[in-house]
């Protein structure tokens, strides 16, 4: 879906300047609080007027300061999931879900009510009022409501930030299911690198109103210069892999990465053949000059240093090639004692239990 977004907005000393194309799939807008993420989303949806710029989505110009076009919010066909659920208290769950469903996005068939209700697990809640729902249930209804309004693009503004970790874990897979079921162009705003690593196809980094980078998520996460913006302490590598072997006695899985590398994690038999997205945090990677023997760590990769730079407070950030790109963070002291430099051969060690599934 063609989209072209160029926006400028100033509030006092804060200047937002963004320019990107929202690709098909899920584009994550990532940045710390105060980066201007919500402001950008509000400008897209027509809730805040940009100072200047241009918004074109699916070939339709929604805003153009040059041409004097400013399509009002209710005609933009942009579904919005807010940080707070914003459900209408006087409507039932069903009434909330169908509130916007009269809208049609061009010739596309309307989104199926039954399918959305089914995926989001709302069947039993349809006749309830929002006041009687839990926080997670409310946010599920809010997500369903936005999708059922048949938007051309779905904007989710930190939809999980008001929920506790258990509720987040419950809703994240549902968002994944919706993504694969409806293939909606989605702009997902978050300041949680975990959520983003799990959901995003494209990553857009925003910091203090400035766009730092935009591109496929695995590329961006592997860029050392972007580590301060893309996760900082929690920064790491994203790996797409396929489960090839299951070892029943130990619940061990062997995974093959896109570039042919092998990885070990724990899991279940039914995952054989399925794709998984893994995240290895840079701080969970240890380095060794020689291949270590008699050690508990299962994932031992032979590779070399591609690049390195100094990180925060005595840390050194490294990008390795171990059959796939891998970022690692070690102390400057270790880095110097090992006399590492570009092209140094090195073994990277990753405990299977530290690898998180995205």
């Amino acid at each position: 879906m063609a989209s072209d977004i160029r926006l400028k907005k100033s509030f006092g000393r804060f200047h937002l300047n963004a320019e990107f194309n929202a690709e098909d799939g899920l584009t994550a807008l990532f940045g710390p609080s105060g980066a201007g993420k919500t402001l950008l989303a509000q400008m897209l949806a027509g809730l805040v007027t940009p100072d200047e710029g241009h918004i074109e989505i699916a070939g339709r110009t929604l805003f153009s300061s040059a041409k004097g076009i400013n399509v009002p919010a209710h005609q933009r066909h942009i579904g919005f999931v807010f940080q707070e659920h914003r459900l209408f208290p006087h409507f039932s769950v069903r009434g909330n879900l169908t509130y916007g469903s009269g809208r049609r996005a061009g010739k596309a068939p309307p989104v199926s009510f039954d399918k959305v209700v089914d995926i989001l697990g709302l069947t039993a809640l349809l006749e309830r009022k929002p006041a009687s729902l839990s926080g997670g249930e409310r946010q599920r209804v809010a997500i369903g409501r936005a999708i059922l309004s048949n938007p051309k693009i779905l904007v989710m503004d930190e939809p999980l930030s008001s929920l506790d970790d258990a509720r987040k874990a419950e809703i994240l897979p549902l968002i994944e299911d919706l993504k694969s079921e409806f293939n909606l162009t989605t702009l997902y705003i978050s300041h949680s690198i975990e959520e983003i690593a799990r959901l995003a196809d494209t990553l857009l980094l925003l910091d203090k109103g400035e766009m730092k980078a935009v591109g496929p998520i695995s590329n961006i996460l592997n860029r050392l210069d972007l580590i301060p913006f893309a996760g900082g302490y929690d920064a790491g590598t994203l790996i797409e892999a396929t489960v090839t072997v299951y070892e029943p006695g130990h619940h061990m899985l062997t995974l093959k990465t896109e570039s042919g590398g092998k990885l070990y994690i724990t899991g279940s038999a039914k995952e054989i053949g399925s794709p998984v997205r893994l995240r290895i945090r840079a701080r969970d990677v240890a380095l060794s000059e020689t291949e270590p023997k008699s050690i508990s760590i299962l994932n031992r990769f032979k590779g070399r240093v591609i690049d390195h730079c100094s990180g925060a407070q005595g840390m050194e950030e490294l990008l390795l090639d171990v059959g796939f790109p891998l970022t690692a963070r070690i102390t400057r002291k270790s880095f110097e004692e090992m006399k590492l430099k570009k092209d140094s051969p090195v073994w990277a060690l990753v405990k299977a239990v530290t690898i998180s599934r995205s």
Partner: protein
């Protein structure tokens, strides 16, 4: 206690006046409340003061202004007479006008507070779901301010039932025409040996007031329940 024809006439006139008063005030009060709650415009403060003036002015003064403005030779009254053939002087329509002016600020105030209490983020959400602003008002804002509107209606109704000063100044105290409950009580107080008759009208007034409040409470509870909250 059976109600005499004369008392019934007073009661019916009072109810008729109160219903008309609320009926003609409600929509303008809603618009005014919306303007004061949501819009910024030049002269807003002056308008706000003007609307609230009947609350702070002595009712007799309001009645005198009405006489000047709405009398058959007044700027508004003369116009009404010439183009619509409506005269407000010394008849029940004049009572409606007087009570409406006195009740308007109360109705406006109740609705305005309700509008100010509405979570506007809900309206924004409704816009993003593709409903145009007026539909958003009808489907979101209006249901949410319903308790406030009901409160405004009750206040306005009670104000109209109890209005005395502006009415007697503007349209005098004519039995069968402009004599509402308070005016009838006032007349009886001036009549020797009418204590029983006074008591009867006083009790009727109290009963009417209670009935109005009970009805409004019931309606409010119903609408609050519809909003999904409990009391």
């Amino acid at each position: 206690m059976s109600i005499s024809p004369a008392e019934l006439e007073v009661i019916l006139l009072s109810l008729k006046v109160a219903l008309w008063c609320v009926g003609i005030s409600l929509l303008p009060a809603l618009v005014m409340a919306w303007l004061l709650a949501r819009r910024e415009f030049y002269g807003k403060t002056a308008l706000n003061v003007l609307v609230h003036l009947p609350i702070v002015l002595p009712p007799v003064v309001v009645g005198y202004f009405l006489l000047v403005l709405l009398g058959n030779r007044g700027p508004i009254g003369g116009w009404l007479l010439e183009y619509f053939g409506i005269s407000l002087i010394f008849n029940w329509k004049g009572v409606v006008a007087a009570t409406a002016v006195m009740a308007f600020p109360f109705i406006t105030r109740a609705i305005r507070q309700a509008i100010e209490a509405v979570d506007r983020t809900l309206e924004v959400a409704a816009l993003t779901l593709g409903r145009p602003p007026f539909m958003v008002f009808l489907t979101i804002t209006l249901p949410l301010i319903l308790p406030g509107i009901l409160a405004g209606i009750t206040l306005g109704f009670a104000r109209a039932l109890g209005e005395f000063g502006a009415t007697i100044t503007f349209v005098a105290n004519i039995p069968g025409e402009t004599q509402t409950l308070p005016l009838a009580i006032y007349t009886l107080l001036q009549t020797p040996n009418a204590e029983t008759a006074v008591w009867r009208l006083v009790i009727i007034s109290v009963v009417l007031a209670f009935a109005a409040i009970a009805l409004s409470e019931w309606l409010t509870r119903r609408s609050v329940r519809r909003l999904g909250g409990g009391i």
